[in-house]
Structures are given as structure tokens and as C-alpha cells.
């Protein structure tokens, strides 16, 4: 299977690879997928005092398209509010990377990952308020 140029670029030079402290109250972690399916994505976002995403990191086990989708996502979410970040659609990722139909699930996984990271952050702030 031939890969698109943008997939190759993100695959060769993945942006924002790394790991942040999952216990930090300003860090949200989203881990989606399963080894059985051949894809696992871990996306982490860190927000500043104004609720804007100041940093994002990822690690992905999966095919080149899955790696590229998560790499692209970390670039896109930086500087966005949580609300803005939650608006990102898998179709936009798929379009930007020119993913073929069999790889659309990689972009779906990326959308799930950012939603999961945002949910994690929200549950942390809810429990902080409650206590």
C-alpha cells in the first residue's frame, strides 16, 4: 500500500512524541484502542490557567496512518480551548492526511483519544471541586 506524503512526513518526523505526568491535575490522558486490534493511542494534553491547551504529547502503537493521525492531532490541539479541541472531527484528520478508506479508523481513534483526554481532565477538575 502506498502512503500519502503527509502520512509519510508525520511518520518519519513524528511531532510531540512523549509522556507527561498523568497524575498532574493540569494534564489529561486519553488512551484508546486495544492491542488486539493492532492500534493503541495515548494522547496527553496540558492546560494553562486559562484552560487553553499549552502542550500535547502522544505515543502510538499502530500502523503508519495511526501514528500520523495522532501526531497531527497534537499539532492541532495546541493553543485551543478544550471546547475547541473537542470539535475536531475525524473526517478533518482523514482529509488532511488523505487517508484511504481502510485507514479511516485511525482518524476515528485520534478523535476518540482527544475526547478521552478532555474527559479525563474534566473528571479531575470535577473531583477537585467536590473535594
Amino acid at each position: 500500500m502506498a502512503y500519502g506524503e503527509k502520512v509519510l512526513d508525520h511518520y518519519e518526523n513524528p511531532r510531540n512524541v512523549g509522556k507527561m505526568d498523568a497524575d498532574d491535575a493540569s494534564v489529561g490522558t486519553g488512551m484508546v484502542g486495544a492491542p488486539a486490534c493492532g492500534d493503541v493511542m495515548r494522547l496527553q494534553i496540558k492546560i494553562d490557567d486559562n484552560g487553553v491547551i499549552e502542550d500535547a504529547k502522544f505515543k502510538t502503537y499502530g500502523c503508519g496512518s495511526a501514528i500520523a493521525s495522532s501526531s497531527l492531532l497534537t499539532e492541532w490541539v495546541k493553543g485551543k480551548t478544550l471546547d475547541e479541541a473537542s470539535q475536531i472531527k475525524n473526517s478533518e484528520i482523514a482529509e488532511e492526511l488523505a487517508l484511504p478508506p481502510v485507514k479511516i479508523h485511525c482518524s476515528v481513534l485520534a478523535e476518540d483519544a482527544i475526547k478521552a483526554a478532555i474527559d479525563d481532565l474534566k473528571s479531575k477538575s470535577d473531583s477537585a471541586v467536590a473535594s
Binding site: R42, K59, Y61, A66, H105, A116
Partner: protein, 404 residues
């Protein structure tokens, strides 16, 4: 050294120049282009003569009689002809067939078709080394078993079954024994008489012959009968009609001749290369050899690099022509059904690479491949959340995954 390096000889092989030369002499107006079925002139006689030489060469490779060779288009057709042909012919004796769960799709899908026709199939699981144990075959035999179909060498992991031991069991009970020899014939010694094989599928393109030609060995003593699947002019004693492709058959014959001549020496060289490749990667953490360590084809190696996904690994290894799983199934997103049958975890089944070295592979090629593989695995592990978790001592089986 020419890039990319071809390490996928299990998928197919280039045609040996000696073979190509013989083939090209059977095509043009100046060459041996006649129809072997033409009895009325010398063009036909010459073509027939060339075909009979090819038949004798292929028969010689497997210790058969030339009259036991039926030409087909390849191993897939041979598997279809053998399994459907024998099942249909002997259906009055019973409708139970035994095979293994890690056969090539040409066998498995043919069996599925027979299931739709009312046959019952037993799919034997291999042991953890990928071997189908003769004792397992024996235990699965029933009163109504008419056919056992077990591959000689596995296309994905390269392990070699003890077909002689299975042949003893089936011959004693007068059950037809079909062997898919697509990966073994021309690579390792095959003796249909000593192994008590009744039907043997072969193809030319895995042994430096052309694509599009194969053969089915059909045992004469004891006489094995099959029902034809392709009807027409009654070629090949009625078992497979169709004008014989002289150039393809001549190519197959010459490939068989070349393979037999140098087999022992070539295999010693290939085993050294395969071992060199394995030695070059096996000291990395979490690297697993799939399939029996010794009972395998000289040139075949299948390795799982845990916590790295196979497709991304192949993408990183763009200077190496390799595959994850077999070429026939690498278009799908499923983990390898062969590795799953060996009891490998999903992660390991998703993380496998199939390397196969062959006639034109050099030591330099292997050394280059080792450097590339090590670098790619390290790069992708740096990207892998599963590797992180492994390093943090987290048991991946204890994690509640959000499957999608």
C-alpha cells in the same frame, strides 16, 4: 548491494536465468511453439517431447513416475483439484476430511466450499511450534474419513511437518493423503514414495521457475482417483483439460532440475544466512522466533518484535522487501491466523515479520537488514505506549482496553 533488498522468497522467487533461457526458446516462430496435442506434424511432436522432458524432471525431483504428474496453473489449482477431486470421487466412502487450521488459504477455502456441499472438516490446531502432530491426525480419523490434507512446509512461519509419519498412518488405513508442497518442493528433499504421499501440490514460482505453472502428483500405486475440475479436451489423462503451455512446463522442469542438483549445498548456505539474521536481532529485548527452531525451511524466519506493530515496522523498513504474515493475507487488518493458532498473543501476532532468504541473498544483504531492523524497532518502541507500559512493569493483560 542493490536496494531494496529482496527478503521475500517465500512469496515468490525470480526466474533463474538458466530457466528463462530455456523458456524463451519455446515461444517465437523460430522456437518450439507448437501445440503438444497436435499429432499430425513435427511442431506438435517437438512440443510434446519438450513437455515430457519437463514432466520427467519434475517427477525426478520428488521420486515419482512421470505418468504421475498432472500439469496445472499453480499450487492453488492443484490444491483445489486434489481436495475437491478426491472428496468428490470417494464421497461414497464418507464425507469427512482432516486438515490443519494453519493451511494455506487455497486449502482452507477449498475445505470451506466442501463444507457448503455437505462435507465435514476437522481443522487440527498445530502445537505451539506450529507443527501438526501425526498423533493428532491419527486421533481425528473416523470411520468416514476419506482424505487428510496437511501442508509440508508452512508458508508463513516456515515450519516443516513430518509428512512421512502422517503418510504411514493414512496409508495403513487406506485414507487419501494430500500434501500441499508449494513451499517445500525444490527447497527440501521430497520423496513421495518414502513419504507415502497420494497427492502432492507443487508450483514453479517458489523454486526459481515461472508463475502460472504448477503440478499435482497423483499416485499410481496404490491408484488414487480424482474427479476433474476443469473439463475440455481430455488433456492430462482427463484430469485437467487445457492446452499445455510448453514454455511454462519447460521452465518448471528446468527449475526442478537446477533445484535438485544444488540442493544440499544451497541449503547449507541458506541455513547459515538465516542463522546470521536471527543472531543479529535475537539479543534485543522481547523478540520471539515463531515456529519450531530447527524443524523449518532453510531460508525462512518469522520473528515477532513485541510492542511494535508489524505494518508500521514494514513501513520503516522501506529498503527491505519483507512481509508481515503471508502475501495472500497481508492486505487485511486481522492479526495473523497462523500465529494466533500457535497461541501467540494478539500483540505478538500483530508484531511479526516474515523474512525469507534465497538463491540470490548475500551475507552483505543480511547484515544490512539487521542494522535496519534494529534501528526501526528501537524507533517504533520509542513511539509505543505499550513499550512504555512494559517498561513500567504493567501487565498488558490486566488493562481494560477500549476495543473498537
Amino acid at each position: 548491494m542493490q536496494l531494496p533488498i529482496y527478503l521475500d522468497y517465500s512469496a515468490t522467487t525470480p526466474v533463474d536465468p538458466r530457466v528463462a533461457e530455456k523458456m524463451s526458446a519455446c515461444l517465437t516462430n523460430e522456437g518450439n511453439f507448437g501445440n503438444a496435442a497436435s499429432r499430425s506434424h513435427s511442431f506438435g511432436w517437438q512440443a510434446e517431447e519438450a513437455i515430457e522432458i519437463g514432466r520427467a524432471q519434475v517427477a525426478d525431483l520428488i521420486n515419482a513416475d512421470p505418468r504421475e504428474i498432472v500439469w496445472t496453473s499453480g499450487a492453488t489449482e492443484s490444491d483445489n483439484l486434489a481436495i475437491k477431486g478426491a472428496a468428490h470421487f470417494y464421497q461414497k466412502n464418507g464425507k469427512h476430511i482432516i486438515t490443519s487450521s494453519i493451511e494455506h488459504k487455497a486449502v482452507l477455502d477449498t475445505c470451506r466450499q466442501l463444507e457448503r456441499e455437505g462435507y465435514e472438516i476437522t481443522y487440527l490446531p498445530p502445537d505451539e511450534n506450529g507443527i501438526t502432530q501425526p498423533s493428532a491426525v491419527e486421533a481425528a480419523i473416523r470411520e468416514d474419513t476419506v482424505l487428510v490434507s496437511i501442508m509440508h512446509a508452512n508458508n508463513e512461519i516456515g515450519v516443516v511437518n513430518d509428512v512421512a509419519a502422517i503418510g504411514e498412518i493414512t496409508r495403513a488405513r487406506k485414507i487419501i493423503f494430500h500434501v500441499d508442497g508449494a513451499q517445500s518442493v525444490g527447497k527440501i528433499p521430497v520423496d513421495v514414495a518414502a513419504m507415502k504421499i497420494d497427492l502432492l501440490s507443487m508450483c514453479a514460482h517458489k523454486m526459481y521457475g515461472p508463475k502460472g505453472i504448477g503440478a499435482l502428483y497423483v499416485c499410481r500405486k496404490p491408484r488414487v482417483r480424482i474427479e476433474a475440475q476443469i473439463h475440455g479436451g481430455g488433456h492430462e489423462r482427463g484430469m485437467r483439460s487445457g492446452t499445455l503451455p510448453t514454455h511454462q512446463i519447460v521452465g518448471f522442469g528446468e527449475a526442478a532440475h537446477v533445484a535438485k542438483e544444488g540442493m544440499a549445498q544451497e541449503n547449507a548456505r541458506l541455513i547459515t544466512l538465516r542463522q546470521r539474521l536471527w543472531d543479529g536481532v535475537c539479543d534485543m529485548e522481547e523478540v520471539y522466533l515463531n515456529g519450531h527452531p530447527e524443524q523449518r525451511l532453510p531460508g525462512a524466519l518469522n520473528v515477532s518484535f513485541n510492542f511494535v506493530e508489524g505494518e508500521s515496522l514494514i513501513m520503516a523498513l522501506k529498503d527491505l522487501a519483507i512481509s508481515s504474515g503471508s502475501a495472500c493475507t497481508s492486505a487485511s487488518l486481522e492479526p495473523s491466523y497462523v500465529l494466533r493458532a500457535l497461541g501467540r498473543s494478539d500483540e505478538l501476532a500483530h508484531s511479526s515479520l516474515r523474512f525469507s532468504v534465497g538463491r540470490f541473498t548475500t551475507e552483505e544483504d543480511v547484515d544490512y537488514a539487521i542494522v535496519q531492523v534494529r534501528a526501526a524497532v528501537e524507533k517504533l518502541r520509542d513511539l509505543s505506549p505499550l513499550w512504555d507500559m512494559y517498561k513500567d512493569g504493567i501487565d498488558l493483560n490486566s488493562v481494560q482496553w477500549a476495543a473498537h
